[in-house]
């Protein structure tokens, strides 16, 4: 028992939430100081999923570092790949052919939908509604199947390549995708019927985790988390890469910067992503999907493996991935950022003129957002911490790298 003189001190409860907790989306650990049920202090701890992706990349060629980026935000590996190849292309000073740009835009938006769908499902599940979670995974399955059809992988795709994409899209794929695109808005309506105007949902999210526009910018928030506060900043609009300058889309904005607005923004983004995919399918030009001069020639699609030609032998494949054929990069450094589903994903690459990056640094939105959790949580209830974690949409693979 505690001594008598301490008996009358107010004692807070220190509660460790995570890394093994159903609602911390991976291995985030929050140490909460509670007074009653109110959070008075919140300290996030990251690093449980650190694998040293940045360091690993230094020992790999530019091509073989690509699969590492799959493992950053593993929910949307396609967007990480697109971000990475854009940075490397900037370093090499090359540009992908037009068709490849459209394909990349298309698959990146598919990645955005699949990422947002997982966000929606888990976020809503945390607040207690179970059904949208399963609805969401039904649609995600379609996208996963399409990815599988496209490149053989479902989760860690490694589909884009420096100078293009790995293989061309088939007409069958485009048809199936188009069918999905036409169907998806009605599925969105399904989710929205269950959630958007639900009174309990609004009670749980309106006015929770409010952050003003100015503060959001100062905290370095990006993506939907920033736009929920009403700041119109979207890399796809302000520094268009790939084919984003050739498609029309709106940037949904929130007003109040609370959980509900962030929710609305992400729901809007899904509809816009759907719109972009539709335009990409309609406008996709012909031509080669990859620059044959600059990029390592590798047909890694399922068929490619089966009919290996003499000049494209297994040995060739091995060499180009193990670094036997190093494409020498020009000396210098680049920073290139893309709009990943979680926010602005930046790659900073320093080259010393060899075939491998001297230093690769990832500006991961989840890491920045995780740092804002205390700001959003303090003063709220424990239950609101769950809403906040859900709404800023972090993935620890990207945060810890």
């Amino acid at each position: 028992m505690c001594p008598l003189e301490n008996t009358f001190e107010t004692r807070e409860l220190t509660l460790s939430m995570g890394p093994q907790h159903p609602a911390t989306h991976g291995v985030l650990r929050l140490v909460l100081d509670l007074e009653g049920e109110t959070v008075i202090k919140c300290t996030p701890y990251v690093g449980y999923l650190h694998r040293g992706v940045e360091k690993l990349a230094e020992n790999r060629t530019y091509t073989s570092a690509l699969p590492l980026t799959d493992r950053l935000d593993y929910i949307s590996s396609m967007n990480n790949n697109v971000g990475y190849v854009n940075a490397v292309e900037k370093l090499f000073g090359i540009e992908a052919p037009e068709r490849a740009k459209f394909i990349r835009t298309m698959v990146a938006e598919m990645g955005r939908i699949s990422s947002h769908i997982v966000w929606l499902g888990t976020h809503v599940l945390d607040i207690g509604a179970t059904t949208p979670f399963l609805y969401a995974f039904r649609e995600r399955e379609v996208i996963m199947d399409l990815f599988e059809m496209l490149c053989g992988a479902r989760l860690t795709v490694s589909y884009p390549r420096v100078g293009g994409v790995r293989n061309d899209v088939s007409q069958e794929f485009l048809d199936k995708l188009y069918a999905f695109v036409l169907d998806f808005p009605s599925k969105m309506d399904d989710y929205e019927t269950l959630v958007t105007e639900n009174r309990i949902w609004k009670k749980r999210t309106v006015g929770i985790g409010v952050i003003s526009a100015e503060e959001a910018v100062n905290w370095g928030l990006t993506g939907g988390t920033l736009r929920g506060s009403g700041v119109n900043y979207d890399v796809r609009k302000h520094a268009p890469y790939d084919a984003y300058d050739k498609v029309e889309f709106d940037v949904p904005l929130g007003k109040n910067g609370d959980c509900y607005d962030r929710y609305l923004v992400r729901m809007g983004e899904m509809r816009q992503a759907n719109r972009i995919i539709k335009q990409c399918i309609e406008k996709i030009p012909g031509g080669p999907p990859v620059l044959s001069d600059n990029a390592p020639e590798l047909d890694m699609s399922a068929e490619g493996f089966r009919k290996l030609t003499p000049e494209m032998s297994l040995e060739h494949a091995y060499l180009s991935f193990s670094g036997g054929y190093e494409t020498l990069a020009p000396e210098g450094e680049v920073f290139s950022s893309t709009e990943a589903p979680k926010g602005e994903l930046g790659f900073y690459i320093v080259s010393d003129g060899s075939g491998r990056p001297y230093r690769m640094r990832v500006r991961a939105p989840s890491f920045v957002h995780a740092s804002a959790i205390p700001r959003l949580c303090v003063g709220h209830f424990v239950a609101d911490v769950i809403a906040v974690i859900g709404t800023i949409d972090i993935v620890l693979g990207e945060c810890d790298r």
Partner: protein, 346 residues
Amino acid sequence: MNILGITIAPYIINIVIILLKIAVVIAIGLLHVAYATYFERKVIGHMQVRLGPREVGPHGLLQPIADGIKLFFKEDIIPANADKPLFYLAPVIFMVSALTSLSVIPFFDGFVIADINIGLLFIFAMSSLGAYGIVMAGWASNSKYSFLGGLRSASQVISYEIAMGLSLVGVMIMAGSLNLTDIVRAQQAYPTGMFAIPQFVGFFVFILAAFAETNRLPFDLPEAESELVAGYFTEYSGFRFALFFLGEYTAMLIMSSIASICFLGGWGLPTFITANLPVFLWKALGLGMFLVKVYAFMFLYYWVRATLPRYRYDQLMAIGWKLLIPLALANIVITGLIKIWIKGML
């Protein structure tokens, strides 16, 4: 009485009959609880575009039994520093208090284990006892998540108990009794056959309070999976966990039975049926009616669980104290006024 030449005192025969009745009710009650979980998983499964259990037995029909066997043989982990006697007893108290309520529920006309004149009050008393089990579990586990869950649950259950108690006063005024059989009979005599229509406010309050009392969505905060992991039974495993589970589902069954008996007419049938059919037939029909109503209410539980998110703790308390209690009080006063007006006493 004389059986095989041995004289048996009548009270022993009475006790044997009571024991048989109890055995039947407990066995069938537990089977219902087991299959309520199966029903829930199937219903929610189909609402969520999946199939629910399918592997064990045809259409997964043996799944609840497989679950029971698994839980029976699972290791019983008692956390270090736990308050052992309380930790041992808590699930038993919780389960027993829920199960004992079954003894006053009339399943059909004339079948009730204990036909006491304060049946409704007895059920309230038992559900209050159940709260002890929850608090003890939260306290004894020596875990913060359990403790928070236990506290939350205690204040939730006692808050909503008031609302529930008040919501049924209207029914008591109309029926003039606390005996559940009498309440059903009073409804039979009533033109609409059920109190849910004149007592719609009371029924509304009762539904919300029933959801909160049994810790179900949208009020499942004590065991809010995403916040408190599993609330007060976080540390429980194996058969002790199963006892909590049994208790919870029995409580749901009890609440559904009360809804059926006090608001939906129970086993009551129109008089032209009871007058023209043989007794055993209309009694069986009455049992069928009762079960259909009970399962309809259970279905409501599942439907809501598949549809709604969960309230926050302060919102839950606000609904209980600021909305349901005034509503229930107003309902009592208005019911009394109308009753007096009908009787021409004004």
